[in-house]
């Protein structure tokens, strides 16, 4: 059998570390003078705090207050008409900040730009939904998963989780198996809190065996009828089977023996 490792705090620590693992870094280069991206940077002016070219894409960092202005310039002046991705990364433990990013595409010249900004915990960001319709759902997802508020969004409510959900699941502090609210959600909603005792907690251990439960488990040599009381040590000498499926077919095997 595999060695048993307690799984209580498994979410809090890395259970596998590769000694030889080197975090891959994406090579960065400066924006060349006179290139296409230099023109984009020129149009954005001094709103850009940092810029580089990674894997043939322009990556810029901006202040969170400027996001609408930057997106507007990128769309109207530079022709970035598609916002293909937008989300956030949780750096709360490290800096008490979220990193937000937007990935834009200029279909005409097949160039992409990624816009980053750092947003303090609890601060709100301006919606870019008036510019890119795709931002509607993306911003709702960001709100649902991280709890980041979006100003002037037309319909800011949860998109994936139920409306009455508590907590924001993509935060790094959110446990993978859910908090107490999550683990009782369906029971509370359908039957009410008083059924918690009757239905019991979720079984998250796929290898769980309950020897007192004679409805779901049977022990070799200690078989009892389905649903019978568990009796600690009462060995049975015959194998007990009452399923219709398992037919040991004693008669035919006897006939075969006789024929031999």
């Amino acid at each position: 059998m595999r060695k048993y490792i307690p799984k209580d705090n498994v979410q809090k620590k890395a259970y596998y570390t590769d000694r030889y693992h080197v975090v891959p870094t994406v090579p960065q280069s400066k924006v060349d003078e006179g290139s296409y991206f230099a023109g984009v940077l020129n149009a954005l002016g001094n709103t850009v705090t940092e810029s580089s070219v990674q894997l043939g894409q322009l990556v810029i960092h901006i202040a969170p207050e400027d996001n609408f202005k930057v997106m507007k310039t990128l769309k109207e002046t530079c022709g970035y008409t598609q916002c293909s991705e937008q989300s956030a990364v949780d750096y709360l433990a490290k800096d008490n900040e979220f990193e937000l990013f937007w990935q834009l595409l200029n279909v005409g010249v097949a160039k992409r730009v990624r816009v980053h900004c750092r947003l303090a915990n609890g601060a709100a960001i301006e919606s870019i939904e008036p510019l890119f319709k795709s931002a509607n759902f993306a911003e709702r997802e960001m709100f649902d998963m991280f709890g980041i508020k979006v100003n002037n969004h037309p319909f800011l409510k949860r998109i994936l989780m139920p409306d009455d959900w508590e907590g924001h699941p993509l935060l790094k502090t959110y446990p993978l198996h859910g908090d107490e609210f999550a683990s009782w959600y369906e029971v509370d909603k359908i039957f009410g809190k008083e059924y918690r005792d009757i239905i019991g907690p979720e079984n998250r251990d796929p290898a769980k065996i309950d020897i007192e439960d004679t409805k779901r488990f049977s022990r070799v040599g200690y078989e009892v009828p389905f649903g019978a009381e568990y009796n600690a040590e009462e060995e049975t000498d015959i194998e007990y089977s009452e399923t219709a499926l398992v037919n040991y077919n004693k008669k035919t095997s006897k006939q075969l023996d006789e024929r031999r």
């Binding site: 989780m161 369906e186 029971v187 909603k189 005792d197 019991g200 979720e202 219709a244």
Partner: protein, 180 residues
């Protein structure tokens, strides 16, 4: 004096069949199981395949119905998310008695590989299940086998549904509840 004796208990030669009401009713019920068209995830694809021409559920009298009011079997085919659990239970409640439930696939049985905050860890937490069908995904033959097992189960039952025990939800503490 009669030349031969008629054995009324056998059907030889006479157009009669002796049976009990239970058997007759259950014969009717078990041979026209109408499941609810209710696919939740990838398992539903296999359920659709079972209904389509190659595997052909119809020959067993199993016709998928699009309304819970016309269905008597609920095949929970796939991952039941917590957001959806309320509606699954509502559909189950809308089905008329007698009704049975097949939990299809690992996800419906135990939560399967989705050991996360958003998935119901086994649909038997909210709905009493008659047949658990293992597999990820179970092949259409397996679903047909489960349907045949359900037919067998129905034939064993009493025609009076009140006498039949629904699945008990056994908890770790050993308490039992009937969630019919």
């Amino acid at each position: 004096m009669a030349q031969h004796q008629v054995n009324y208990a056998s059907s030889a030669g006479l157009p009669i069949a002796l049976t009990s009401v239970d058997k007759l009713v259950n014969w009717g019920r078990s041979n026209s199981l109408w499941p609810l068209t209710y696919g939740l995830a990838c398992c539903a694809i296999e359920m659709m395949a079972s209904g389509a021409s190659r595997y052909d559920f119809d020959r067993m009298g199993t016709i998928f119905r699009a309304s819970p009011r016309q269905a008597d079997v609920m095949i929970l085919a796939g991952t039941l998310s917590k957001k959806h659990s309320e509606f699954a239970r509502r559909l189950y409640d809308q089905m008329t008695e007698p009704k049975w439930v097949i939990s299809m696939g690992s996800c419906a049985n135990t939560g399967g590989m989705f050991n996360t905050y958003a998935t119901v860890q086994g649909v038997d937490r909210i709905i009493p299940v008659d047949i658990y069908l293992p597999g990820c995904a179970p092949r259409p033959e397996t679903l047909q086998y489960a349907m045949m097992m359900l037919q067998k189960k129905i034939r064993r039952e009493s025609a009076d549904m009140k006498k039949n025990t629904k699945q008990d939800l056994t908890t770790q503490t050993g308490k039992r509840a009937r969630l019919i």
